[in-house]
């Protein structure tokens, strides 16, 4: 029996789908059986980022409405040997085509066959969000170092804390620009974590490679030379229970050192 992790953020455009694709890929690289579920019905993207768009035959709504079996709708990622699958969202329906109860049932049956079910949540806090959260055991909240994204993350954490079957959420801070953080033009990691007061599970630097990779339908996590890739792989390792120190991102490293210095009383 595996576990279901929902990736959510409240605000749109902070990198939920990218994070879902890469955490899923990184977990598969660790040898886990992973199923990615796109719940953004009507605005599906996860298939594009995974490069699996043209292999979709059935989708989530087809499964829920009984037009096909689950395994028929699952798209296998050929880059992995039977480890990574995608359940795509429908593009022609809207979010109300599925109810939270149906989603829970679906995720529960996927959990039987996979180690990890990664649920990509749509933006917002309405029907689509409730669908995505319905079957989840754990939650990861993605935010960027912007006030508006942090505000929405705070809102979504409040909602997640009310869900009885979801463990306290973990935080991913995405698109960190270390030079801006250093100048104080961007909220820094400490500020965000103390403000939201939940556990940090990873920080990801803003990296042009991520966009390039997404456009090619290859999750960045497959490329071992990119900083963002290592960040996502570290997140996957932390999900598996390893304790991995936060990635020393250029100036972010300086931040850690200066904190150490402060701790020892050296100016």
């Amino acid at each position: 029996m595996g576990e279901a992790i929902v990736i959510t953020s409240g605000k749109g455009g902070v990198g939920k789908t990218t994070t879902s694709a890469n955490i899923g890929t990184a977990l598969a690289l660790q040898g886990k059986r992973v199923c990615l579920v796109d719940t953004d019905i009507g605005l599906r993207n996860l298939d594009v980022i995974m490069g699996l768009e043209n292999r979709i035959i059935y989708d989530l709504v087809d499964v829920v409405e009984g037009r096909c079996k689950i395994h028929q709708a699952l798209v296998k990622d050929k880059r992995f040997e039977d480890l990574l699958y995608l359940l795509p969202a429908a593009q022609t329906s809207d979010k109300t085509a599925v109810t939270p109860e149906q989603m829970k049932e679906l995720v529960d049956s996927l959990k039987q066959d996979y180690d990890y079910v990664i649920i990509d949540c749509p933006a917002g806090i309405e029907h689509g969000y409730r669908n995505a959260v319905a079957g989840a055991d754990k939650a990861i909240v993605v935010t960027t170092p912007e006030v508006s994204a942090v505000r929405d993350a705070d809102r979504i954490i409040g909602l997640l804390e009310k869900e009885e079957n979801v463990e306290p959420p973990k935080l991913v801070i995405n698109r960190i620009r270390s030079h801006m953080m250093k100048n104080g033009d961007m909220l820094d990691v400490d500020e965000i974590t103390t403000h939201l007061s939940i556990d940090l599970i990873g920080i990801v630097a803003d990296d042009d490679e991520v966009i390039k990779a997404s456009n090619h339908g290859e999750p960045i996590a497959l490329n071992p030379n990119s900083k963002a890739s290592i960040a996502y792989r570290n997140i996957a390792r932390r999900i598996l229970g390893e304790s991995v120190p936060l990635q020393p991102l250029d100036e972010v490293q300086g931040g850690v050192f200066s904190k150490l210095k402060k701790f020892f009383g050296v100016k």
Binding site: R151, D152, D154, R155, G158, E161, S197
Partner: protein
């Protein structure tokens, strides 16, 4: 044995006080009151308005009964009804009073979109994040950072205060007075615990926590101690 009167009328400079016996039946009381009123009627003619208050001792009157007594008094031309004073309170009244008096302590973070309400005083062990709101009938004490909205004295208590370890609210409301945060908070880390209250000018003031003991001495509930 001489029958004692159930209704005793006493005149004071504030008007008449009717002491109603709390041992007899309500019907007897009403009858005697009516008698007394009719027999004394001529005395009051052409006099200015007189306020009549009741002291009803350990008797409990329902709202209907109270209204009945008031109607009896109002029938007289120059009498107006003051308050009805009883030693007895109903359980609901007491519970309401206790709720307004008690301090509710809550350990959590009030996040964006959440509202935390208390009838009496509120002690929050945690933060209020921007977009979050705390509301209390009495005072609000925040042990963490207050970055959202706090509304104390919601039912009109102008003496209510708000205090927080880190006072960076987006808005503060006490009773019906509202103030908003300055557009920029000065970034000095020396800020101590602060409190907000309605000052003499009717505006919300923010000051060191220590001034509260002089401004609101009634906040002290501890009896004894040295």
């Amino acid at each position: 044995m001489k029958k004692t009167q159930n209704v005793l009328i006493k005149g004071t400079k504030d008007g008449l006080i009717l002491h109603l016996d709390d041992q007899c039946s309500y019907e007897d009381l009403k009858k005697e009151l009516l008698d007394k009123l009719t027999e004394n009627q001529r005395v009051h003619k052409d006099y200015p308005l007189i306020t009549v208050s009741f002291k009803i001792g350990n008797r409990y009157l329902t709202d209907e009964q109270k209204e009945e007594l008031r109607t009896l008094i109002r029938q007289e031309k120059n009498l107006v009804v003051g308050n009805i004073d009883s030693n007895v309170l109903t359980k609901t009244e007491v519970e309401k009073m206790m709720k307004e008096e008690e301090i509710v302590s809550v350990a959590r973070i009030v996040r964006s979109g959440q509202v935390l309400e208390a009838t009496g005083d509120l002690l929050l062990i945690g933060d209020v994040n921007p977009g979050g709101k705390v509301v209390a009938g009495g005072n609000i004490y925040v042990m963490g950072a207050l970055r959202g909205i706090a509304h104390a004295g919601v039912y009109g208590n102008q003496d209510a205060v708000i205090s927080a370890s880190v006072m960076k609210p987006s808005q503060i409301r006490i009773s019906d007075v509202i103030t908003r945060a300055p557009d920029v908070f000065l970034d000095d880390d020396k800020r101590e615990m602060e409190c907000a209250y309605i000052g003499e000018n009717g505006q919300i003031m923010i000051d060191r926590l220590q001034v509260l003991m002089h401004l609101r001495p009634n906040l002290n509930r501890l009896e004894g101690g040295h």
